[in-house]
């Protein structure tokens, strides 16, 4: 279920931003900052972010005294070695307790480990810092948004993502997050707008298929919620066409097909989902 994705795009300011090795995880927000392009880390590459997102210049703001561990953390995050990334980031924080950037990376590593409660204070602190404090500072609020979302703090998440969206309106994962929050708040029209906006931002770019599938699956939910079943079916179908092993989308497709009275098609979709699930479960350790 892991995919390396490297892509180059042109930022609004003309800077070329490197986009990174990202993991796709259809879980909402699980890819924040990894599946999507995000803040730069410095050096020649940027940390994950929105495919079309303009981000601050990557090199200029790096610490005066480069520490090779920054690069180590970035590489570990890119290669999904989150506990290792956490360990390195933690050592940085231990040495430099006041270093907001170190705290940011620790928060990001914990966020990737889905340990949102522990990540929260680090990301809160990084988000509260001036945006020029360290290169990735302006994006800390994006990850803070995901932490709040997964801790059940919808209003807090909405504030964080809205803040980020105002600075980076073309950041697709933030639009996706705002779509999820609107859905949770039963603002279905808003939700639809956000998901469609994220899809537009993702466009037809190579390497964005998984992100598009993720958004399409959620857009399908919004349409289903409005009893727009044929349109929902189309979304789910596009999602599985784009990302064939998107088990969640297969499940959603099966559900809408059942409701449309196409039991045989639904059974096929469900069988596909079961097949993916079985394969996924054999690939991961028991909980």
């Amino acid at each position: 279920m892991k995919e390396l994705r490297t892509q180059w795009t042109v930022a609004a300011g003309g800077a070329i931003i490197g986009l990174l090795a990202l993991i796709f995880d259809p879980t909402p927000g699980a890819n924040a900052g990894v599946a999507n392009p995000g803040p730069p880390i410095g050096g020649q590459e940027a940390l994950p972010g929105a495919v079309t997102t303009p981000v601050p210049p990557p090199v200029a703001a790096t610490p005066a005294a480069p520490d090779p561990r920054w690069e180590v953390v970035r590489k570990l995050l890119r290669s999904s070695q989150y506990p290792s990334a956490e360990a390195v980031a933690r050592s940085l924080v231990k040495e430099r307790p006041e270093d907001l950037r170190a705290g940011f990376y620790l928060g990001l590593a914990l966020h990737k480990e889905k340990r949102y409660g522990e990540a929260l204070p680090y990301l809160e602190r990084a988000s509260a810092a001036p945006v020029d404090s360290f290169p990735e500072a302006a994006h800390a609020v994006h990850y803070l948004g995901w932490c709040r979302y997964y801790l059940g703090d919808l209003p807090g998440a909405r504030v964080a993502f809205t803040t980020h969206a105002s600075a980076f309106p073309n950041y697709d994962d933030t639009q996706f997050a705002l779509g999820l929050i609107a859905y949770e708040e039963d603002r279905v029209i808003d939700s639809e707008v956000y998901f469609r906006r994220a899809l537009k931002l993702l466009g037809e770019q190579q390497g964005a298929a998984r992100e598009r599938a993720k958004n399409l699956a959620r857009l399908g939910d919004v349409l289903l919620r409005q009893d727009r079943l044929p349109e929902a079916e189309q979304c789910y179908r596009q999602a599985v066409d784009l990302f064939e092993t998107h088990g969640e989308a297969w499940s959603k497709l099966a559900r809408v097909l059942d409701r449309l009275g196409r039991a045989s098609d639904a059974a096929n979709a469900r069988a596909r989902q079961a097949e993916i699930k079985a394969r996924t479960e054999t690939e991961k350790p028991l909980p």
């Binding site: 480990e113 409660g117 919808l154 939910d221 639904a266 909980p287």
Partner: protein
Amino acid sequence: MNMIITNTCAVALTLAAPHLYAHAQTAPVVAPPASIRFEDATAGSGIDAVMTSGKLPSTQIVEVKGGGLALIDFDGDGDMDLFMPNGATLADPEHGPGARLFENLGGLKFRDVSERMGARPTRWAFGCATGDYDGDGRDDLYICCFGADILLKNMGDGRFTDVTAQAGLGDPAWSTSAGFADLDMDGDLDLFVVNYLDFDPSMPPPPAAFKGMQVMAGPRGLPARADILYENRGDGTFRDVSESAGIRKAIPGYGLNLAVVDFDADGRLDVFVANDSEQNSLFMNRTEPGGPLRFEERGMTSGIATNIDGAGQATMGIAIGDVDGNGRPDVFTTNFSSDTNTLHLNLDGKFFDDRTAQFGLGAASRPLLGWATSFDDLDHDGAEDVVVFNGHVYPQATKVAMDSDYQQPPLVMRRVGARFEVVTDPGAGLRGAHRDRTAVFNDLDSDGDIDIVVAELNGPLRVLRNMHDQSHDWIKVRLRGPTPGTSHGIGAWVELSTRTPTPRVLAKRWIWAGGPFQSTASTEVQFGVPDSWKDLQLEVRWPIVKGPAGFAPYAEVKYPVTPGSTVEFVHP
């Protein structure tokens, strides 16, 4: 049909013509400021029980579920008494401190009559079902155990006798919950037993990891045990018909709870089974009156087996209510932390749709691990609220380490308009963090509002008094069916409607078997009645019942009713 009214002035008993009024959707109620308040009334209540479930800190899966609770009117005096099948410890699973029985004396006072029970099981027990399995007019007890289950016959003098073997019961699988209901419509109570998994405490699986921490192993990887359906032969014995009835066709799940409800309004009772860590099951009843029991598993195809993302959840608690006002029973379930509780709307009796977000029931539950739950109109504004009792299974759980604390407060959500909103101060009784597990909900002090008894893992039972305490803004309904299988109206629904200014349904309740979590749902229906509701009438529909003329169609009867009444419907 007869109707008996108590607690109110005389009311003309007029039988209205069936189908006189159009069935309208229940209108959402815009509630006044929150007024849900509970106090802890344990002290002085006479309930001094501690529920045993292994030891703290829990180290094995068998220790973390906690035990069960049951509402049972064992002495037939009209109020609900309390039974606690107790747990035991790993050191001696067969010999725990023993079950407890508390007689309701009124006014939230109870008397411990455990010593007079006669048969008083000490085996490690979990959930419990109540019902008059032998048709002698007295409710009996079925106790789910880690080991052979136990059937206790109510002897009528406060004593119980273990009749497990005589009744043909006593399956040794680890069962968690059970429900008595007349599933084949022949007049007696059949029994559905929810099984969990095979577990040998002497050979526990290796520890697992959760959020980067080493924790006790969960169910995954352990063999699930299939549920069992017992048909009541009508002579005080049961036979296992799981195979022939189609229950075994379903993939065995890690069963934890059940709700026996007529989901498709065909007069036959269906069975929803809550499974741990995987998809839930929905057994739709296809039994023909007079024919053998037959079920079709439709969990996945109906949409109720998983959440909106197609993910199986660790489902524990179940609440049944008409959340969207379409007249059909919706299903609310409680789940693990870092997941959400889930509301499945019953769209048409055939399909369910996860509408957790629509009703605002998801986000607030993410940091919580939910167990017992119930829909009740706690503030009598006409709309059902929901309470969820919470507590983590991992002793190491903290908000920092696992995004969720070990001890957690109850989640109290009040219906406000089209959504539910968290009640931040529901009173001292529902404040504070605990390791809560099971609970029962009922008007235990007969003042018209719903009280609660909740059991904490290896902690004292708490009696929570609803402080609503107004005298005439409620209606309670009890059903008395013509057969043992319908003696408490299991499978019936009760609808409260008005004729003014136009006929419309105001609220609807189902009487169901199963319960909040390893416990029994109240068979007594309660409605809160706001001042704006006038010119009220009750309608009852029974499930298909075998009567003198065979399998009679179920009755629909309307009666006028006034607030402040306890109404007893007696089926002819």
